[in-house]
Amino acid sequence: MKPLKLLISGPVGAGKTTFIQSLSEIPVVETDELASENIGKTYTTVAMDFGMLELDGIRIQLWGTPGQNRYKFMWDILAEGALGLILLVSGEQPQDFIVARSMLEYITSQHPIPYLLGVTRQDQPDVWTPEDVADFFGLPPEHVIGINATRATSSIQTLIALLEQIQNQKWRGIP
């Protein structure tokens, strides 16, 4: 069976690389370079992150994009053949919501694939909840999920929620 290609996108600092690292069963292929802008971290992805895992017998490939708008061309390149999109946004950075919204619109208009909006940093106090973010984005609540990267099952739950969107039924793994 062909592996399932999933796209992981979102603004700078949303936690795309961390999300892929938390799920991948192979060493993640990273393209991190020193950031010369003040983006709240030392390194930033310039080409892609690539990770793989097997979930209930299904091979899944995770392709992470760079976050900055100047890397828009990579979103299109990596979205080629993807069957689902997880767009991550930090619940601590509401100033990024507008950018995240336009990324979501851009990618899903160019590549109409099932998507899920993941709101990261749910372990932090004063964080935006997935319900609040769904309201703000005007998205149905089932399309928005909270992610707490400090809990091992959180990323897997996100993945399963997206697979349920793709299959349009409760996840039962491979029959």
Binding site: V29, T31, S36, E37, A47, P66, Q68, R70
Partner: protein
């Protein structure tokens, strides 16, 4: 931390790029950008500089990763060869990338040797620009004629 605005290209770097373009026949353009895709200085025509800087940084970043995974690192150059010419991309220190554009009848070997010499010049110049200390680490030019 390097953080130049596009409007104030450092004159020293522009001069080095100009010298590079004069040093090799058939060169049509040169650009220096950060490894995370921000343009610093350029001598290029008809190009969206911000867009091409991002693309070059992606290509060099991926090239570094490929070189590392195949055990041929540190990566030195990535080349795009088209029917209309070349775009050669070089790693400059830890934080910068140099791109050189040439027509298809240019000599790739001469471009390589010259561009990598200039990459060292640029590294040293950037250290000069960024340091406030009196002493500077200077990289040796392996091709220097003594």
């Amino acid at each position: 931390m390097t953080n130049y605005e596009l409007k104030d290209q450092p004159l020293e770097i522009q001069n080095i790029l100009e010298l590079l373009l004069l040093s090799v026949p058939k060169l049509t353009g040169a650009l220096l950008a950060t490894t995370d895709g921000l343009p610093i200085a350029y001598k290029l025509e008809r190009l969206d500089v911000e867009q091409i800087s991002a693309m070059i940084s992606t290509n060099v970043g991926l090239g570094k990763r490929i070189a590392a995974s195949r055990g041929i690192d540190p990566m030195q150059a990535v080349i795009v060869q088209g029917a209309g010419g070349y775009l050669c991309m070089y790693s400059v220190g830890d934080r910068h990338v140099l791109a050189v554009e040439a027509t298809q009848d240019a000599s790739l070997g001469i471009i390589h040797i010259t561009a990598q010499r200039f990459a060292l010049k640029i590294t040293n110049q950037l250290l000069n620009l960024n340091t406030t200390l009196g002493t500077l680490a200077v990289f040796e030019d392996p091709w220097a004629v003594s």
